[in-house]
Symmetry: C3
């Protein structure tokens, strides 16, 4: 294992473990990891059998007997590799059709697994080894790539395009109408029909119960490698860049572009028709109402450069104490 992780063993090279645990809970036969030095003290009293540590880790006390260290360049990344390895061993790669309605003109690749109470619409194409779980609804003319997983309760509307190796978590809704209305003179609303679609790249994850709306005329786009957490809303015509990470309960309004590799913390809101520069970080609950041209850290509602906001807030707090 150590060789596979690119590390070295300090201790018993034949040690075996059967499960994972957090460092403060490790027992005999378990594997733990130490990445954040805040938790270092747990290591010296740990009963775990194997501990993943950084290559340059220097113990400050004697190690427990029975603890084997595996030194790797990045213990957190090594843990990720191990968890993935265990998960993959459990995967079933085989063709399966549950109680489902698959349109005659739909076309499913090799070893596609389809659960129960699933509907797949006309002309839809699903790539090899993709898994469609129970109670999923897929519309017409949808294209889903290879090696995807669509979890239970997800709803994918007509004309949606999804790349390879994507994961759509339970209950997410992809491609329903955007929130488009024209105000009439009497104060009522007329609906704008949406005839566009959603295009999702490769290696994307969309969280549980998140919603990505289709565009009125063209495409709402989610770039390769993006990670969208639970209960996020991406509105019609928005463009989410590659490798964007968006935590829970974020809202991106219509036609806004979020640049590549941006990080949005929880409950961030970005108003419509804006552009956010690549490599920008928006801290939790930030509200963006104007373009962000300069990448950096932003905080507050409306958003300010991080340092500016914290300085102003320190004075705000002080005024409440006087």
């Amino acid at each position: 294992m150590a060789a596979a992780l690119g590390g070295s063993v300090q201790g018993n090279p034949d040690e075996t473990v059967t499960s994972f645990a957090k460092i403060e809970h490790g027992k005999k036969g378990q594997l733990c990891f130490l990445a954040n030095m805040k938790y270092e003290h747990y290591l010296y009293t740990s009963k775990a059998s194997i501990m993943l540590v950084a290559e340059d880790f220097r113990p400050r006390q004697a190690l427990p007997e029975g603890l084997t260290l595996v030194r790797t360049p990045n213990p957190y990344d090594a843990l990720a590799q191990l968890l993935a390895y265990v998960k993959n061993k459990k995967k079933q790669f085989r063709r399966h059709r549950g109680r489902c309605r698959i349109a005659f003109s739909a076309s499913l690749g090799s070893r596609v697994w389809v659960g129960d109470y699933v509907t797949i619409g006309a002309k839809t194409r699903i790539g090899a080894q993709t898994r469609i779980c129970d109670n999923v609804t897929i519309g017409e003319n949808v294209r889903i790539g290879n090696d995807c997983i669509i979890y239970p309760g997800a709803v994918i509307f007509a004309d949606t395009v999804i790349g390879d190796r994507c994961i759509l978590h339970a209950g997410c809704v992809i491609g329903d109408d955007g929130f488009g209305n024209v105000r009439q003179e009497d104060g009522s609303w007329k609906k704008i029909e949406h005839l566009g679609n959603v295009v999702i790249g490769n290696d994307v994850e969309i969280g549980s119960n998140a919603t990505i709306d289709k565009a009125p005329m063209e495409s709402t786009i989610i770039g390769n490698g993006a990670r969208i957490d639970n209960l996020c809303v991406v509105a019609h015509n928005a463009k989410i860049g590659e490798h964007v990470a968006m935590a829970a309960l974020c809202g991106i309004a219509g036609s806004t572009e979020i640049g590549d590799r941006c990080i949005l913390a929880g409950q961030v809101g970005v108003a419509g028709h804006l552009k956010v520069a690549p490599d920008t970080t928006l801290c939790a609950q930030t509200g963006v109402i104007g373009d962000i041209r300069k990448s950096g850290y932003y905080f507050g509602s409306p958003a300010l450069p991080h340092r500016t906001f914290l300085k102003a807030y320190a004075k705000f707090k002080q005024s409440g104490l006087e």
Copy 2:
């Protein structure tokens, strides 16, 4: 087409198009529109075949050859009409029963379309030409009007009343229990059972994965023409006025009344037992914790009149720069 839209043609009256596009992307055989002068420069280099413009639009440069203008009173509204026309041509008005369980005492109007894996409970009545998509759950004694669409994954609880021409988007939940608990002396909670219902008017849209809870004793009300976006929460006993537009991730707490024609931007929160005056606009992320008696624009958490908030925030920002 120009006649139908109430406009006039400047160019080739026999021009035909096959699809729509945004103004910056238009190609031959496509229709675009110009409503926001910010995008005017795209018109002069556009390859589109037809452009919807305002009646009083005066070109500042030569128009591209091959571009036909159609002048209408309101290009955005004209576009909405065209999109609706195309969508309607695709609609299927026919009776259909998929693999569904419809209670014997339920009663469905003419040309109602029911998809697969749908359940419809006892004594429920569904109006003519309403479409119930796959994987929808409808409880007992529900009344749904004519010409409605209920998208996949929606859940409609017993006793709910829905008007005509409503659209309930995927995964929305109508009529589940409100968040009602009584605190006990030991700090625990006793649940308050909810025996009321939800009443939704005509021409209402409820967004994907939004939730509208039923009242403990009477009705939670959504007024005619209201537009509720994805992932909104309307709590028990709230009353949403006519033609209210509520963007994504808003939360309206119990027993609060939102006046007619209010506009709520994204991620707004309104506390319980409050009244918000008609024709009020609440800007994004605003938090309302007291009645709003005077219609106008409000911003901030807690909410302040828009101008007051922005002035105070400008000083707040300045204090962070010093």
Copy 3:
């Protein structure tokens, strides 16, 4: 009824009612309650037949004829008991199997009710008198206790443990992957597989479309008696204490611990790896980015002690008026 509620009758002891109403709407044959003196004036003109009042209530005017008072220690609590009594009379305690797929190795207790289009996975155990509504998806090796209700559209992933008398509202997702990714040098993300689970105690309610993610290695925990409202997110490895009440649209980030009996108002966000002391109240839209060690009331983003925040905000508002 009065005896059952621990109260006394002032008026007609044989009075009967058939439904409940709010105090301002009560008619003959209905029961209302007066708990908040703000509504007292409605009592004197009420046409209701029975009114629940506090034991020490002294009418300031003549009571309407035909109105019987029932005095109880706590009218709101008495109402809750009555609503529950009515609801329970409607419950059906009987074994039922709809059109469902139940794994052969799954084991269901006595009088379990299973609706249509439900899937229940291998080795899953469901306790006596639990009701699984239509369109629910339950994975493998799940344990659900007695007397639970799982509403339509809920999705419960493998290895989830749920106690007795829990209510999972429509569309909630329990046990999907947490939002775990490791940043790579090129800015992309590598997914961290989640092999842990979610453990929910007894007497818990999880709101519609809320999501509780499983942990990477151990358990995300929801304590006994907790009340989580619609559209909340509880992230991987979080620990929600006993009797915590969390209103709609809250987000609790990974590995954070919310102490027993905390109250979180709507749209609150708590960042990751934090501890919030028991018996703390977080006001609406509060954003917590550091440990809260002292129980009390907090407000603002970032969170401040309630009084500090309001004092500072009053000055903030003033600066916007000058």
